[in-house]
Amino acid sequence: MRRSDPSPSMATFSTSPVIASGQSLPSTSPTIDIRAIVRRHGSVAAVDHVSFQVQRGEFFSILGPSGAGKTSVLRMVAGFEDPDEGDVLIDGRSMLGVPPNRRPVNLVFQSYALFPHLTVSENVAFGLRMRRVPGALIDQQVQQALSMVKLIGKEARKPAQLSGGEQQRVALARALVNKPAVVLLDEPLAALDQQLRQAMQVELKSIQEQAGLTCVCVTHHQEEAMMMSDRIAVMHQGRMWQVGTPREVYENPRTLFVSRFLGVSNELPGRLGEVVREAQLFHPADDRLPGFPVRTGPGEVPGRPATWSLRPEQLRMSSERPSVQDPVLPGVIEKVLFAGSETKYLIRVGREHLWEARATGAMQPSFASGDPVFLQWALADGRVFFE
């Protein structure tokens, strides 16, 4: 936050000690600028040269399996840990050595961490009170925050008297009432059951847009990350493998890990062959399968081992060999899984590969287990990964 910030919603933050040395910066500067941070636990790097930037008003998710180091990144932004190397900048100012209570960020904890001895409104008012905001202003802002998360009427309850979803809303209100430069979310919906979780995803997103919040969210749930985020960073083994919009990351995964982590990946190991017109041939390791054309970068050496991958929804099935130019592979339906809005087919391809294909709504063709099928896809949809 800067003193010169014209945004009225940020005005109350001027009481914070953080902006004491406020300086003017070009408005294009990112709200969060993480520069090659490293965090070691003993000899292991839990976070290994991670860099990214988050723009104002953006919903940015760090996605990865547990143990990927994403919570560690969040804690370094919040100030509970300091990086061993690199720098954390918030609104252009380095945060190294600045304790959490002097950083313009607020964290929504995975377990919510609501103070059990305080009421809902006392919980929400906590941050304002710590910054000695005048009482009348506190009441007004607490009311505003509570109405935003639809908790009016529950002000006097203790956290133990609230449902899981309500506790989640209090935790959110407690963070955003402070109008922080960034709201940090640590697995915000992990403790909720499936149905509530989906409802809260929509609600959280609309609150974020309505209040113009900048959010950094840590999650291991790829669907949640894709639905809520403007951009996603995929983290694995302490490194960031890809940063991009949900569509980019899903459709153009840069590594096999990213491809697998963001959804189902139908794969064939093999090696590259000769160049044919704009494409290159791919020879599956399973010699029962014929070679087929793939898209690769210019000048890939024939013979290089690679893994080819395709998303299930990009696969079309037909009972007769199609006449079009697209690549085709034969397969046998092994299992049909009816899931309501869609039907999943598990298809045996070659000797040992089990692929997944999907069909939805009225377009559902009727295949049964044991039926032979032809699988077909657009040349551009297939991805080739090198290890």
Partner: protein, 296 residues
């Protein structure tokens, strides 16, 4: 005795409650050698002293009224003061210790707790005696202070109120650490981080979050230190002088030296009333503590 509820019990309980009688000999013993003596002290506190130290069974309030005399009032007052000071010092020393133990790796916690408790299980006389050596004119405390250049002349430490309070703190510090440890161990460390994230300074984290949430342990620890401190005898007897007498010493003095049993008994009951008040506070706190924090 267990027999009188047999008529109200279900048949199965009645059949098995023959085993309730197992408790009878022990309870009889406690009645005979604990309850009866206490009642005796209570009765005597309302009797008068005979000319040669015997007891004259005439009801009187005189013994309790005598306690209002400044001489006794001073001893009561300074006992309360020493015990309160001891409790406060134990809290200041014990809280960091309990906090560090509760936040140390789980496998170290029992070892550290044992280390805190171990001195308590050694002979109290011996531990108090150790402080006589420490606080002597040529003792380690004076030598240390001289060596550090904090004092030019050895201090008179032994046989002072300071020595009494040091001895009491030393004797009862483990009683403070144990309940505090339990309370801090139950405090979710994430709540401390949450307060810190919400702009609370370290002091604010402590007063707004840690203290309210560990209140049962704080009250428990304070009462557990206060009770034995207020009733102590050995510590003021060995480390204190004639001017730092406490209630325990007064009781012993009245019984064995002056041989005024009725007055001694009255002092005993005042002490008992103070202790019972503290126990009452402890149990009220313990029973209300389950309320708001439950289901966390």
């Amino acid at each position: 005795m267990p027999s009188d509820d047999v008529s109200r019990s279900s048949p199965s309980v009645r059949a098995s409650c023959r085993s309730c009688w197992l408790a009878a000999p022990g309870l009889l013993w406690m009645a005979l050698f604990f309850l009866v003596p206490l009642l005796l002290v209570f009765a005597i506190s309302f009797a008068s002293r005979g000319t040669y130290g015997g007891i004259v069974w005439e009801f009187t309030w005189a013994n309790y009224l005598d306690l209002l005399h400044p001489l006794y009032g001073k001893i009561l007052g300074q006992s309360l003061w020493y015990a309160t000071l001891t409790t406060a010092i134990c809290f200041v020393l014990g809280f960091p210790l309990a906090y560090v133990i509760a936040r140390s790796p789980a496998r170290w916690q029992p070892v550290l707790l044992l280390l805190v408790m171990l001195p308590f299980w050694t002979n109290f006389l011996v531990r108090t005696y150790a402080w006589m050596i420490m606080l002597r004119h040529d003792g380690l405390a004076n030598n240390l202070l001289l060596a550090l250049g904090l004092i030019a002349e050895p201090l008179e430490l032994l046989y002072t109120p300071t020595a009494v309070v040091i001895g009491l703190v030393y004797g009862y510090l483990p009683f403070m650490v144990l309940p505090l440890y339990v309370a801090v161990e139950r405090l979710d460390p994430v709540l401390v981080e949450a307060a810190w994230d919400l702009y609370a300074s370290r002091w604010a984290v402590f007063t707004r979050v840690v203290v309210p949430l560990t209140m049962p342990g704080i009250v428990g620890g304070c009462i557990l230190v206060f009770i034995p401190s207020i009733g102590s005898f050995i510590t003021p007897d060995l480390l204190g002088g004639a001017r730092s007498m406490m209630i325990g010493n007064l009781i012993q003095h009245e019984y064995l030296v002056v041989r005024d049993w009725p007055l001694g008994s009255a002092v005993s009951f005042v002490l008992m009333a103070i202790v019972m008040a503290a126990v009452f506070v402890y149990y009220r706190q313990a029973s209300s503590a389950d309320g708001p924090l439950e289901g966390r």
